[in-house]
């Protein structure tokens, strides 16, 4: 099998996903174009060498619809021979896009492919695409559908994480993100979003709240208590799938869950031949990747089995991985992953995560893979694993090693 190498990775900064967020004025196509142009220009890449652009996007409707990957490739000025495809693996879309890009290379069917993703959550809000899973009674009821926040609270309840535990984790995420920004650890990969005149619109992650304390978090009401316990009463649905739980402890709120933000990412992958042709040095090799399905109601426990599957394929064990990145969708997701696999906190999300910096759904997977690679290089470490929990009960994981 051909090896797939990562040649470069970029991301935009993450703007607050609200009407007053800095990137709200920027169309999602423009966000994706920013990432695609940056990865081309940094490497002086002849885009005619690229076979395909695979972009994750979770709300592929409205201005993110009609295959935004192809639109963005054309608008970025890529050679018209470069194809484009948009994929949706919910929260892991960006990583899945990268894995699919790698798979094209590894199968020998493509020599170079760009993976990545885009999401303007301020312009195309979550839930815009509907879907039968929550809405169609013939699907929602037998699947015991509950919103992710209820699932996250169920994870916390079932695996014993208190409000203090999840809040403390959130504060650490904020601290680590602040430290990483202050020391310039993200500089290598973050490309500012600019307007048509070249004027900078945003050059940093604007969702961060480094001043957060246990006291300030304590004042926040749990976000899903009302929906869970009163209207419409999702807790009763979850308990039917988890009857051993008496009552769900609602611990998650805006301060210990991922932020809603806008952003885009891109990763350039190719075989060794491509690197030689393009005059590029590979930064890492894709060692293994995997996606799995897990129980859909608790929904967010997929990263552990996905990681185990990828590790097995790579012939590795948990301890063979030097650094981990797990998307901080909710604090309890990360706490459970560390508990389940026995991973120390100092190997996990060492530069913070989505609780501090935000989770632009379709883009995040490729963002955290890039973050992981940067930090492996900075620390001189060999192996890393990036993974995400996924709606409807899935997990995707990717293992990379430096070359």
């Amino acid at each position: 099998m051909t090896d797939a190498y990562i040649y470069d990775a970029v991301r935009t900064p993450r703007g607050k996903g609200r009407k007053d967020g800095s990137l709200h004025e920027v169309t999602p196509t423009r966000l994706a174009v920013t990432a695609l142009q940056a990865i081309r220009d940094r490497s002086n890449l002849d885009t005619a060498l690229v076979d395909d652009v695979v972009l994750g996007c979770v709300m592929p409707i409205g201005e993110q619809g009609a295959n935004i990957a192809r639109t963005a490739a054309v608008m970025a000025g890529y050679s018209e021979t470069v194809a484009g495809v948009q994929v949706n693996r919910f929260c892991a879309s960006g990583l899945e896009a990268t894995n699919m890009a790698a798979a094209q290379v590894m199968s020998g069917q493509s020599q170079a492919v760009i993976g990545g993703g885009v999401e303007s959550m301020s312009r195309v809000p979550m839930g815009s695409d509907g879907g039968s899973w929550p809405v169609d009674p013939a699907v929602a009821i037998p699947m015991y559908f509950v919103p992710q926040g209820i699932s996250a609270d169920l994870v916390a309840t079932k695996y014993g994480f208190s409000r203090d535990d999840v809040d403390a984790y959130a504060i650490e995420s904020q601290k680590r993100a602040k430290n990483a920004w202050d020391k310039g650890y993200f500089k290598k990969s973050v490309v500012a979003v600019k307007d048509q005149n070249g004027v900078e619109i945003l050059n940093h992650d604007e969702h961060m709240r480094p001043q957060t304390t246990m006291q300030s978090l304590a004042s926040l009401e749990p976000s899903f208590k009302m929906h869970g316990e009163v209207m419409p009463g999702f807790d009763a649905v979850a308990l039917q799938r988890y009857p051993e739980v008496e009552k769900i402890n609602h611990v998650h709120h805006a301060g210990n869950s991922s932020g809603i933000v806008d952003g885009a990412s891109a990763i350039l992958l190719g075989n060794r031949e491509f690197g030689e042709k393009a005059g590029l040095k590979p930064r890492a090799r894709i060692r293994a990747f995997a996606s799995i399905g897990s129980e859909p109601t608790i929904m967010l426990t997929g990263p552990a089995p996905a990681s185990e599957k990828a590790l097995k394929r790579a012939g590795m064990s948990v301890n063979d991985i030097d650094l981990y990145e797990l998307n901080e969708a909710f604090a309890a997701v990360v706490l459970r992953y560390m508990q389940k696999l026995g991973i120390p906190h100092d190997k996990m999300n060492v530069n913070g995560g989505a609780i501090a910096m935000g989770h632009p759904l379709g883009a995040t997977g490729a963002m955290i893979l890039g973050t992981l690679l940067d930090e492996m290089e900075r620390r001189g470490l060999g192996t890393g694993l990036a993974t995400l929990c996924i709606g409807a009960g899935m997990g995707t994981a990717t293992i990379i090693e430096r070359v």
């Binding site: 809405v135 169609d136 009674p137 929602a140 015991y144 509950v146 308990l239």
Partner: protein
């Protein structure tokens, strides 16, 4: 049956008036006759408009459930065709090109309402007794005559939800408020007003979907057949609008949560609404018929119809009453013991118009019992359910006293004193001393055998058990226990009393725990056994709800009191020892001993049971349970799908342990009719209604399969699942309870 009449103004009146029935119902004969009349009205060029009316006090009560119970469900295609006919018939009303008015003089339920909804205009008489609604969901069905399609299109999904999903019945004014009915008029003006609407000149013309552009009098066109129709309540009429999506997401969760996933009908109704509103009206009707057929083929509907409709009706008509005994009219009764049970019995009796002597050992205790009744009656008066005068009359009928002499003239005395033989014997003797020779003396004991208690009586033929359930005001069942010497006349007259106070009776023969207490005990014991096995308490309780029980066995034990369970167990053990017999316990006596003797956790009554009862919030499982009953790690912390199998088995055990014990009651002649087992289990114990009752469950599973499964459970968990020989014989012969019962009925 269906009268057809056309007046000089060209207004046809089709009047439903089925012979030999007090109510009009939809069945094959009436539908055929109606179809003929309808065709006539549509074809006759002289007919300008049609009034649909009733010749009875009520409009149409719904479909003939006998027909639904006996319909052959083996061929889905044939059922689809059969019930599509109904849809086509109703659809023909609204697409016939002539305006139809439903003149709703009284109750219109189920198909009776659906036929009105197919009319273009609905006028109701201002009849306070009239009930408007779709009760199908309560018997496991859905409105299969277009109700799930027309109602949401008429009044929006949110407004339709309680009508379709809960079977909520409306008064005519409420129905008008929602837009289900257009006008409410004085009863005497109903037909005149209907005619006036029809003969008034039409002012508007529209081209309905079904005329391909030809314009018609708008009054003859339903809203959903007009161009540009939008479902009310959703922006743009779209399911896939933010409001529409949220409505269904929330509605799905509410159905799943409230029903614990037990009932198929609400899910099917929700699907009819969701899927139907995404497609044209006629396609929606087809979808509705598909779901209707699926419910009809599900054993749940037939079980529910058989028990909750026919079984209940028979019980309330005193099907088990011995013949040849003149009906007893009650005027005055006595209640001994003014505690919660005694006061409750006094309350329901006084509400039924009886004079009640409420006696306790001292006046203050008796007064306290009356105060309970007064508070309850006044609560109803405050809610407008009783007038002030009615409330005052009820309260005035109750005479609290400590003097046995006041019992003079009572036709029936019910004792609800302390559950102790000596105390009861003394009460019996004192009462009988002043009672007339034909008075009945009844004991409200929940467990002590009646034959033994009757030994204290000078006329044991007049001694009977009347077992009420707590709270008496709410619980619909009375379990009548016939002792060895109880006369058939006493039984008949006791049934008359139960009917008088509007409760549902079942009749059982004497035995320890009779039927309900015994089966209730089996349920609770199985919960205790599961705790001992390491099943997390929450899982036991939640699985009980998922099996269809109203409360889990541990919560139920807290309510009936754990120390009471202990005392009953202890008494049984002593009685066995005294009789020189071996005590056959449940094997969970140690749980009761631990809770009562060691931990002094008596249940809700002392705020400490399997649950704890914080003053500032909801009850919750007592965390200390985990110390005494170590939870299985795979269940408490595991995440794999194998947990689902454990949950399924827990559900099965909790129902089967009651069903097999009910079968034993039949074998031992404690129960003499399977219907008493079904009615008694549902009305007395809240046994999973979707099964149709503890005996129907066995039929639903299949006797042979039930025996096999119980044998496996007995091997794994103990003799509480031991199958009575009668069931094995039935399995061998391929018999079923209701196969036999209906055969017997036919013969």
């Amino acid at each position: 049956m269906i009268n057809y009449n056309v007046d000089s103004d060209g207004i046809a009146t089709i009047t439903w008036d089925m012979p030999d029935r007090s109510m009009n119902v939809l069945n094959e004969a009436s539908m055929t006759a109606f179809a003929e009349a309808m065709q006539k009205a549509i074809k006759d060029a002289a007919v300008k408009g049609v009034i649909l009316a009733s010749g009875k006090a009520d409009f149409i009560a719904g479909a003939d459930l006998d027909m639904l119970l006996n319909v052959d469900t083996s061929d889905a295609t044939a059922l689809m065709e059969q019930f599509s006919q109904l849809q086509r018939l109703f659809r023909a009303i609204e697409t016939g090109g002539k305006p139809w008015v439903a003149a709703i003089n009284g109750t219109a339920l189920g198909g009776g309402l659906e036929i009105c909804l197919a009319c273009h205009y609905r006028i109701a008489a201002d009849n306070p007794k009239a009930k408007i609604g779709q009760p199908e969901v309560k018997i496991g069905l859905l409105p299969g005559g277009g109700g799930t399609q027309r109602i949401p299109r008429l009044i929006g999904v949110m407004n339709a939800a309680p009508i379709l999903l809960e079977g909520k019945e409306l008064k005519v004014q409420e129905a008008k408020g929602l837009g289900l009915i257009h006008e409410v008029v004085p009863p005497g003006e109903l037909l005149a007003r209907a005619k006036a609407w029809l003969v008034a000149p039409g002012t508007e013309k529209v081209a309905p979907t079904w005329t391909k552009g030809v314009q018609l009098d708008a009054r003859a066109v339903q809203p959903w057949d007009r161009p540009g129709f939008k479902v009310p309540g959703f922006p743009g009429g779209q399911v896939w609008s933010p409001v529409g999506v949220q409505t269904f997401i929330g509605g799905n969760a509410m159905i799943a949560g409230k029903t614990w996933g037990v009932y198929p009908a609400p899910k099917a109704i929700m699907s009819c609404v969701y899927e139907g509103l995404n497609v044209p009206f006629d396609t929606g009707l087809k979808i509705e018929t598909r779901y209707f057929v699926s419910l009809l083929r599900d054993p749940v509907a037939k079980s529910m119809i058989r028990t909750l409709f026919f079984g209940l009706q028979e019980a309330n008509k005193l099907a088990r009453r011995p013949q040849g005994v003149p009906k007893q009219e009650y005027r005055k009764i006595g209640v001994l013991g003014a505690g919660l049970m005694g006061a409750g019995i006094a309350n329901v009796s006084a509400r039924a118009g009886l004079e009640v002597v409420l006696l306790d050992r001292d006046q203050a205790s008796a007064d306290k019992g009356k105060a309970h009744c007064q508070a309850d009656v006044e609560k109803d008066a405050g809610r407008g359910r009783l007038t002030k005068e009615q409330a005052a009359e009820i309260v005035a009928r109750i005479k609290p006293t400590a003097d046995y002499g006041d019992l003079k003239g009572c036709q029936l005395v019910i004792e609800a004193v302390f559950e102790n033989r000596d105390v009861k014997a003394e009460a019996t003797k004192k009462a009988e001393a002043v009672l007339g020779s034909d008075a009945i003396f009844a004991s409200n004991t929940s467990t002590l055998p009646i034959t033994g208690l009757a030994e204290a009586s000078v006329r044991p033929a007049n001694f009977i058990g009347l077992h009420f359930f707590s709270p008496v005001e709410k619980m619909p069942l009375v379990e009548i226990i016939v002792g060895a010497k109880t006369s058939q006349e006493t039984l008949a007259r006791s049934l008359d009393y139960v009917q008088k106070i509007r409760k549902t009776p079942i009749v059982v023969n004497d035995s320890r725990g009779f039927f309900t207490s015994r089966v209730c005990g089996a349920y609770i014991s199985e919960g205790h056994r599961m705790l001992k096995e390491g099943i997390p308490a929450a899982m036991i309780e939640n699985c009980a709800r998922m099996a269809g029980m109203p409360v889990g066995p541990l919560a139920l034990n807290d309510e009936v009191a754990i120390d009471l369970s202990y005392k009953i167990m202890d008494q049984t053990r002593r009685d066995a020892e005294a009789a020189g017999q071996k005590f056959e316990g449940s094997g969970t006596e140690d749980v009761l001993e631990l809770m009562v003797k060691k931990l002094e956790r008596f249940g809700r009554k002392n705020g400490k049971g399997f649950y704890e009862y914080p003053s500032d919030g909801k009850k919750r499982l007592w965390p200390g349970l985990k110390e005494h009953f170590r939870e299985r790690a795979d269940l408490a912390h595991g995440e794999g799908p194998e947990k689902r199998e454990v949950a399924d088995e827990i559900e099965k055990r909790l129902l089967y342990v009651q069903a097999v014990d009910t079968a034993r009651c039949l074998e031992a002649n404690v129960l003499t009719d399977p219907r008493d087992g079904d009615i008694g289990s549902i009305m007395g114990l809240g046994f999973a209604p979707q099964t149709g009752g503890a005996i129907s469950l066995i039929d639903q599973v299949g006797v042979s399969k039930f025996v096999t499964e119980c044998d496996a459970l007995a091997q794994k968990y103990g003799q509480q699942f031991a199958v009575p020989q009668m069931l094995r014989n039935m399995a061998d012969k391929g018999e079923s309870f209701y196969g036999q019962a209906s055969k017997a009925k036919a013969a």
